[in-house]
C-alpha cells in the first residue's frame, strides 16, 4: 500500500503546481472580466473595431450621436404606424385655413407625448417642440404652416395621369333640338366660345404658374429671364384630390399611402425649372395665346401623358411636330427653317428662337431635320 502512496504524493504535488499555474493565468483574466465586462461582451464586430483603424470605429461613434429631436422623420421605424394613428382627416382647423375639409394641421400633442414624454418635458424650451411650433414657449401655441414649406419633402407622389385622363370630358354632343332623336356635333369640350371652362381637363390641376420664378444661382442663361407663365403650376395640396377621393373612391382621405410614398431620402424640390425650349410660354403664342387656347390643348403636345401610369420617370415628351405645326408651316411661319438656314451659313450659329445657348449651340437633333424635310447634318460637317 505504502509503495503506492509515494507516487500519489508526487503526482499530487505536480497537480498542485499545474493548478497554481492555471490559477495565476486565469486570475488576471477573471479580474479583467470583472473590471471591464464591456470589453468581453461584444461580438466580433467590437473586437474588429478594436483591432481596426479609427475609420472603422467611426460608424459606432455616429450611431451614438445624440438624436436631433428638432427633426421629424417619417422614415423612423417607430413613425411608420398607420397614418391615422397621428393625423386626423380633416383637422379641426380646416374651415379656418382652407376652403375644403383637409389635413391642415399637425397631429395633436398626444401623438408625440405617448413615446417622447422625456423629450417633451426636457428643460424650459424642449427642442422637440420646434418640429411643429413657431416658438418654444408654453405661452405661444402658434404652429408652422402645414406642411412646412421650408422643410424637405419626405414623400413622393404617385399619380396615374392615364386613369385621370380617362374620365375627363369628351366631345360635346347635343341634340339638334331638345326633343330630336338625332344628335350632331355642336362643339367639343373646350371650345373658344365656352364662357367658362366647366369641362374638366388638365387645368383642373395644372393652372398657369403665378409664383415668381427663382433665378438659378449662376443667373439666367444669356440673360433670358422667362416670364412667370412660361410654366404651368403643379398641385401642392389636396384641393384637386379630395373633391373625388374623400370617401369611397380609393385612395380616400385616410389612405395617405395611396398617393404618398416615402422617399428614399428627404429632398428639396428644385426652385428653378429645366427646359430644353425655355422660350416656350405655356400661356403664350402671341396675342391670341395660341399655345393656351383651343384648338391647342395639353395633349396636343404632351403626347405621352395619356399613357403615363406613374409620375416616376415622367418626361415632358413634346415632339418638335408639336411646335412646327404652326412654327414651320408654309404660309404661316418658317421659324425652324430660318434657324437651320442660319446654321448652314455659320456653323457656330446658336439657335435662339426656342433655346438659350446651352441647348442652341448643340447639333440640332435629327427630328428637326426630318420635320424640315432635310438630311440631318452635324456642325462639324458644315463649312
Amino acid at each position: 500500500m505504502s509503495g503506492s502512496v509515494k507516487p500519489t504524493r508526487v503526482s499530487s504535488n505536480r497537480a498542485m503546481k499545474h493548478y497554481k499555474v492555471i490559477l495565476f493565468m486565469l486570475a488576471p483574466m477573471a479580474l479583467a472580466f470583472i473590471i471591464c465586462p464591456q470589453q468581453f461582451s461584444g461580438s466580433g464586430e467590437v473586437a474588429g473595431q478594436r483591432r481596426g483603424t479609427r475609420k472603422v470605429a467611426a460608424p459606432q461613434a455616429a450611431r451614438k450621436a445624440p438624436i436631433d429631436y428638432s427633426k421629424f422623420s417619417h422614415a423612423t421605424k417607430q413613425h411608420q404606424e398607420a397614418c391615422k394613428s397621428c393625423h386626423k382627416t380633416p383637422t379641426a382647423n380646416w374651415d379656418k385655413v382652407r376652403e375644403f375639409p383637409d389635413v391642415a394641421d399637425y397631429p395633436d400633442h398626444d401623438a408625440c407625448v405617448r413615446c417622447h414624454r422625456q423629450q417633451f418635458f426636457k428643460g424650459v424650451q424642449p427642442v422637440i417642440c420646434t418640429v411643429c411650433h413657431v416658438k418654444t414657449s408654453p405661452r405661444d401655441d402658434a404652429r408652422l404652416a402645414f406642411r412646412n414649406p421650408a422643410a424637405p419633402q419626405q414623400f413622393t407622389i404617385e399619380f396615374p395621369h392615364d386613369k385621370h385622363q380617362d374620365v375627363i370630358a369628351s366631345l360635346r354632343w347635343r341634340p339638334k333640338s331638345d326633343r330630336a332623336v338625332n344628335t350632331f356635333f355642336v362643339k367639343s369640350a373646350h371650345v373658344l366660345d365656352d364662357k367658362k371652362q366647366n369641362y374638366y381637363n388638365c387645368e383642373i390641376c395644372h393652372v398657369a404658374n403665378t409664383k415668381a420664378l427663382a433665378a438659378p444661382a449662376t443667373g439666367w442663361l444669356d440673360g433670358y429671364a422667362p416670364a412667370i407663365d412660361t410654366f404651368k403650376a403643379a398641385p401642392d395640396g389636396h384641393a384637386s384630390c379630395f373633391n373625388c377621393h374623400w370617401k369611397s373612391q380609393e385612395p380616400i382621405r385616410n389612405n395617405c399611402g395611396g398617393c404618398h410614398k416615402l422617399a428614399n431620402a428627404p429632398f428639396v424640390l428644385p426652385a428653378s425649372h429645366e427646359r430644353k425650349s425655355i422660350k416656350f410660354r405655356h400661356e403664350g403664342g402671341g396675342e391670341k395665346r395660341t399655345h393656351a387656347v383651343p384648338p391647342t390643348e395639353c395633349t396636343s403636345c404632351h403626347i405621352n401623358i395619356t399613357k403615363s401610369a406613374t409620375l416616376r420617370g415622367l418626361k415632358p415628351d413634346v415632339p418638335i411636330t408639336g411646335c412646327t405645326e404652326c412654327h414651320n408651316k408654309s404660309g404661316i411661319r418658317q421659324d425652324l427653317n430660318k434657324e437651320l438656314a442660319s446654321l448652314d451659313q455659320d456653323k457656330k450659329f446658336v439657335c435662339s428662337y426656342c433655346h438659350t445657348s446651352n441647348v442652341g449651340k448643340l447639333d440640332p437633333p435629327a427630328s428637326h431635320y426630318v420635320v424640315a424635310e432635310r438630311r440631318a447634318l452635324k456642325r462639324k460637317d458644315l463649312k
Binding site: 375639409p101 369628351s170 366631345l171 360635346r172 366647366n198 373633391n243 395633349t299 399613357k307
Partner: protein, 274 residues
C-alpha cells in the same frame, strides 16, 4: 484526282477576299437609322355622325397598339368583336337612373360623372338632375356649405351612378388587354386622342402591329370598332407615320382620300325592358 496548284489557291484566296471586302462595303453603305431612333405613329381619327357631311376629330378616346398581325391575333380580335355591347344609356337605365342624368352624361359623351363640373343649373331648376340634388343635400349636411357640396358632389353619389359604367368598361378592357398580352407576350401600349382626334404612339420598333380601340366606341346610335394592321419598317425609324382612320360614311372631301382604315359599325342594341 484533280490536283490544285499554288496559283489556283492564290486566285481563290484573292477572289474570296474581294467578295468579303465587297460584302463589308455593301453592309457599311446600307443606310441605317440613328442608333436611338424609334418610329412614331400619328393616328388621326376623324368621324362623321349620322348623315353629317363634315367629319370631326374623335376626341378623348383610347386606342391600343398590339404586337403582331391580324392573322396572328385572330382569336383576340374575335374576342373584341364578340364582346357584349351595353350602351351607356342602357346601363344607366338598367340602374333606374333619371332621364335627366342620362341626358347630362350624353351631353359631353361622359362615361362617368367625373367628366365635367356639375353646374348650379344641374342641381336647381327645371333641368336639375335628381341624383345630383340628393348628393348636394347630403354634402350640405356633411360640409355645411351648399357650394362645396356641389363642387364635391361626386363623393356623395352611389358608386354605380358615379362611375359604374366606366368601371364596367374598364373591367372588360383590363381582361382583354390581359388576353392580348398573354397571347403576344408584349405589353399593350395605349394612347388617348386629343380634342382634334390625334394621338401618338411613340418609341416603336420595326414590326407588325394592330391598332385597335378594343371596346367599340359609341358614336351617336352606333358603335365603331377599329382593328387594323400596320407595319413599321426600319426606314420608318426617326420619322412620323401619319395614319388617318374614320367610320363608314365619311365623305368629307378634306379627308376622304387619305383615309387608311374604316371601322366596323354596329347599331347599339336596344335597352332591355326593366
Amino acid at each position: 484526282m484533280k490536283q490544285t496548284n499554288s496559283k489556283q489557291i492564290t486566285w481563290r484566296t484573292l477572289g474570296l477576299a474581294l467578295l468579303a471586302s465587297l460584302a463589308v462595303t455593301v453592309v457599311a453603305q446600307t443606310p441605317t437609322a440613328l442608333p436611338d431612333a424609334r418610329a412614331v405613329i400619328r393616328l388621326r381619327v376623324k368621324v362623321v355622325l349620322g348623315d353629317a357631311t363634315k367629319a370631326r376629330g374623335l376626341s378623348r378616346k383610347r386606342f391600343f397598339l398590339i404586337k403582331g398581325s391580324l392573322a396572328e391575333n385572330e382569336s383576340l380580335i374575335q374576342s373584341f368583336e364578340q364582346r357584349l355591347l351595353v350602351s351607356r344609356d342602357c346601363y344607366y337605365r338598367g340602374l333606374g337612373a333619371s332621364e335627366a342624368l342620362i341626358r347630362w352624361l350624353k351631353a359631353s359623351d361622359c362615361e362617368s360623372v367625373y367628366c365635367r363640373e356639375v353646374e348650379p343649373k344641374d342641381v336647381e331648376g327645371a333641368d336639375a338632375v335628381p341624383e345630383f340634388q340628393l348628393a348636394v343635400a347630403a354634402g350640405e349636411k356633411e360640409f355645411g356649405s351648399r357650394e362645396l357640396a356641389r363642387k364635391w358632389l361626386t363623393v356623395n353619389l352611389s358608386d354605380q351612378i358615379r362611375d359604374g359604367f366606366y368601371k364596367r368598361q374598364q373591367q372588360d378592357l383590363v381582361a382583354l388587354i390581359k388576353q392580348a398580352e398573354e397571347l403576344t407576350k408584349v405589353k399593350v401600349m395605349s394612347v388617348m386622342t386629343d380634342r382634334n382626334g390625334t394621338a401618338y404612339f411613340t418609341d416603336l420598333e420595326p414590326g407588325t402591329y394592330i391598332i385597335s380601340n378594343i371596346l367599340a366606341t359609341e358614336i351617336g346610335d352606333r358603335a365603331s370598332l377599329w382593328n387594323f394592321e400596320i407595319k413599321v419598317k426600319p426606314e420608318d425609324l426617326a420619322t412620323e407615320k401619319p395614319i388617318l382612320i374614320s367610320n363608314p360614311g365619311n365623305k368629307d372631301p378634306r379627308y376622304v382620300r387619305n383615309i387608311k382604315f374604316v371601322s366596323v359599325e354596329k347599331t347599339l342594341p336596344a335597352c332591355p325592358a326593366r
